[in-house]
Amino acid sequence: MSAPILRVDRVSRHFGGLRALSDVSLEIPRGSIYALIGPNGSGKTTMFNVVTGGLAPTTGSVTFHGREIGGARTHEIVRLGIGRTFQNIRLFTRMSVFHNVWVAVRAARDGSGRSQGARVMELLELTDLAARRDDLVESLNFGEQRRLEMARALAGEPTLLLLDEPAAGMGGGEKERLARDIRALQARDLTVFLIEHSMDLVMGLAERIAVLHFGEKIAEGSPTEIQTHPRVIEAYLGRARGERAAAGA
């Protein structure tokens, strides 16, 4: 197996007495679609924040392309080639659709205004938002806002893209489209690391899945292995028998 693009090695993150992550190790193979699942509060977003530099790991190390990034600052990590979307969409709401991507393109690279404008339009074409370029963010529907956030995350030309619950609030048709979009990104040589509650999406899309429960990794494997893993079934069904199982599966 080739060297992993991202290696999380025995990372713990404590908030006071709370152990949000305990001794978690992950290896994300280059070019793969890798999913992180687990019940609410299991530490998934904390893991994303550790990888993108919002939080320093209390112990352990994070290496990206073989380079230590644990505790580095977010903008430095972004420049190394990591992009990210947020669970609660964080767009620049006072800017137009175009400007949301434009500011990211300009922050990421030097170059003339004309070539940067062309790059923005390319990303808006890719996410099917070109026709909305002059619209305000608030006029976009939910799915469009998620796509815009993805376009913005791609502006820095990342090699690893972190998607935090990209399907949250989406209906069936939108989810199918999202799955197509994510596969298209993989075809463009991107590695995708996603957090997702929608089990049909995760099981159909991810090549490998890691499961967090109370900050610990309780399982890792292929979708089939995860679906039949006793500790996973216990974590999901044992805890919130009704709603989470129904919403997830």
Binding site: G54, V78, R90, F92, R94, M95, D134, G156
Partner: protein, 302 residues
């Protein structure tokens, strides 16, 4: 006529102060301490010409530089607080500067005058401009020239990569960092630029009035400088300019209102916060106007 020149001069000087609040605000920081940088600039520039025998232009530059340096230093602790806490902390900085000048005595006897910062007496006899035979109208020209240069810089900033970074940081620091923006750098730069422009404003002011004391850089000046961009708008550099012209000409133009100034400014801040939180020239209006210009350029025959 002299009265019109006086009001116009105050508008020019205060417009710079409004711009200094604006540049700090568009990277997400509300400062109630710009009068502190104004005072630092004024005292520094005043000492340059009245005590140290420097010319007017070096005095302006030095006043600007010293205030910029203080802006840079204030920028770091300011990173740790936001919102209301930042407003109070920056006002605290302004008060520290004011109280420092209330206590600083650094004077020299020149002829029959005591010149220099003199505690509660203030800093009198900064007469470089007047002794040089510059008329009020000429000095107004200088003020407007400086303002034009600074406004030109801000017009560039609004359209530049740097300006885009500022506004991204203002909207959402986490998202801004996630598109590769160095948030610390942007916010500290905002305070540095804000300090510089407020210092320049103070440098111009002391040579206009020949005099400054601690009382002139207290809370009322803080409120006025914040009201300009809040009324005029945060969507474009034209916002604080518009706000200053409106507010100063109303309060200075109608003498009866001068005594009600604090009341008017306070009421305006509240009204704007409720009905138009981004001011008269907000982002939507600024973008619409920019759109008209683009349209006209596109439809013009080649």
């Amino acid at each position: 006529m002299d009265y019109v020149i006086a009001v116009a001069s105050i508008i020019g000087i205060h417009a710079l102060l409004g711009l200094s609040v604006y540049v700090v605000a568009i990277c997400g920081q509300m400062s109630f301490g710009q009068q502190g940088f104004f005072a630092l600039g004024a005292y520094t520039a005043g000492m340059c010409t009245a005590l140290w025998g420097l010319g007017f232009v070096p005095a302006l530059l030095l006043g600007t530089l010293v205030a910029a340096l203080f802006g840079f230093v204030v920028g770091f602790p300011a990173l740790r607080v936001r919102g209301l806490y930042l407003a109070i902390a920056t006002f605290g900085f302004g008060e520290i500067v004011r109280l420092a000048f209330l206590n600083v005595r650094y004077t020299r006897q020149i002829g029959d005058r005591v010149v220099g910062p003199n505690g509660a007496e203030g800093f009198r006899h900064v007469r470089w401009v007047f002794d040089g035979g510059v008329t009020g109208l000429q000095y107004l020209g200088i003020i407007l020239l400086v303002l034009a240069v600074v406004a030109g810089f801000f017009a560039w900033l609004d359209r530049s990569k740097l300006g885009a970074k500022f506004r991204a940081v203002e909207e959402d620091e986490t998202a801004a960092a996630m598109v590769g923006i160095n948030v610390t750098q942007v916010k500290v730069l905002g305070f540095t630029l804000g300090g510089a422009v407020a210092g320049l404003s103070g440098s111009l002011f002391i040579h206009y009035s020949t005099y400054i004391d601690h009382d002139m850089v207290a809370l009322p000046l803080a409120i006025a400088s914040v009201t300009y961009p809040i009324l005029g708008g945060l969507g474009s550099f034209a916002g604080p300019l518009l706000g200053t012209v409106l507010l100063v000409s109303i309060t200075e133009g109608l003498r009866a209102l001068a005594e009600l100034r604090e009341f008017i400014y306070g009421a305006l801040i509240i009204v704007m916060m409720i009905f138009r939180p981004r001011g008269l020239i907000d982002e939507a209006l600024a973008q619409r106007v920019a759109g008209w210009f683009r349209l006209r350029r596109r439809t013009e025959p080649a």
